[in-house]
Subunit: 244 residues, 2 copies
């Protein structure tokens, strides 16, 4: 049975990290919110689960995955669940906790990316918190990008199995998520990322290598890939960008 | 062998969610940063792992758990790992993903609590971002607390096994973390939380029930329990508090 992915329609957002794993593995899945109401799909089908008064395991927010009766919420949790089934997790059980830890660090950085344009309230418009956003984005570029990316570069450099994947000796969902994170940062902050490849050569090479994976290359060129836009997590607001 | 918990000395912080599980289960553990340098402990021992140039699986930040050679970072990941070993996870494998999803929602709320006093930059002093903090705290109290706590109340109400635990029919690490979250919010925002028990009766009852667990009661009264303070996640700054 096809996996059902529930996420907001019209944006890559957090759902994209899950889509990349499903696409890379060639797994059958339904992107429910993007489906038609007449097929029992669409955003309404997603909200029905979130607002259900009887569902025993309601998710707090999208994305969540439905596999049969099981509802798995949160990107990192979904990838923890799917990883072994899709052949995108380390075989060693201990390493699966390490991979999950890396994914949670990626999730933390994604939250900080979001907060560059929404530092005061996720329910307020960007325009109503632009001054605070400028301060937060400046700190993000000057301090947080180097902190996170310096760490990811070290993770690659110190992987005993080689610096072409984040963990172990095979490609995992963590590598696919790194691709999305790096791509998103380039979209949102082109000035800040100008010298990215020089500062973080292993991370940059990983991004490029993932893009060459046949299923990822095909997906990125397909209509299924929603372009980055200013409703998602990674938003290009020139006034928030600056040289690193 | 005793588990080794690595976290900043002097604060409950994120480490406390792990401590509560270890304490409730009566597990043997070393709170490494709080130990003596002469025993190979202290904050230096923690920084040595974080800054290691050879360790294959470096953590991004505390807390992390060391169990033999395995390093498990991130609170929710640590609890995912420890839960079954401590008898604090659901027996059913599918439900473990549900429990983990709840824990990740708690983690998201904890990050938002942190950001009430540090909305612009975690590296800046609170005093240098107080105006933004006031706006973010106001939004947190007015919008985010009801959103998260309304959700947790529904999770309890809709648990088919009863509304006295978050998942299944036994106490899990999720319940212990809810205790810490609710206690921390009461410490930080006493005005905002004044009517908490009326608004979220099941969540409030869960908090009180966890406090009556013998090992938790003993721990909270012990010297091992660091008091809440203004260096942690939950900080009581009266100017950020207001009636809900």
């Amino acid at each position: 049975m096809a996996y059902e992915l529930y996420y907001w329609d019209g944006i890559q957002g957090r759902g994209e990290f899950v889509r990349l794993a499903l696409e890379d593995a060639g797994a059958e899945y339904i992107d429910v919110s993007r489906g038609a109401k007449k097929d029992g799909q669409g955003t309404g089908a997603m909200m029905k689960i979130i607002n259900s008064k009887i569902e025993p395991h309601i998710p707090f927010a999208p994305p969540f995955l439905k596999d049969g009766e099981l509802i798995v919420p949160h990107v990192a949790n979904i990838l923890l669940y799917l990883g072994p089934k899709l052949g995108l997790a380390p075989k060693d059980e201990g390493l699966r906790y390490v991979a999950h830890g890396l994914q949670l660090t990626i999730a933390d950085m994604v939250t900080e990316v979001h907060d560059t344009h929404h530092p005061l309230a996720s329910g307020l418009y960007y325009e109503d918190q632009k001054d605070a956003a400028k301060r937060r984005a400046k700190d993000f570029i000057e301090n947080r990008v180097p902190k996170f990316m310096g760490y990811f570069e070290r993770v690659l450099a110190q992987n005993p199995q080689g610096d072409t994947q984040m963990i172990g000796d095979t490609t995992t969902y963590v590598d696919l998520s790194m691709f999305q994170l790096v791509g998103g940062l380039h979209y949102a902050f082109p000035h800040a990322m100008k010298k990215f490849g020089m500062s973080y050569p292993r991370v940059a090479a990983l991004h490029d290598a993932v893009l060459e994976r046949p299923n990822i290359a095909a997906y990125v060129d397909s209509e299924r890939r929603i372009p980055f836009n200013e409703s998602g997590i990674f938003r290009h607001y020139p006034e928030l960008d600056q040289d690193a």
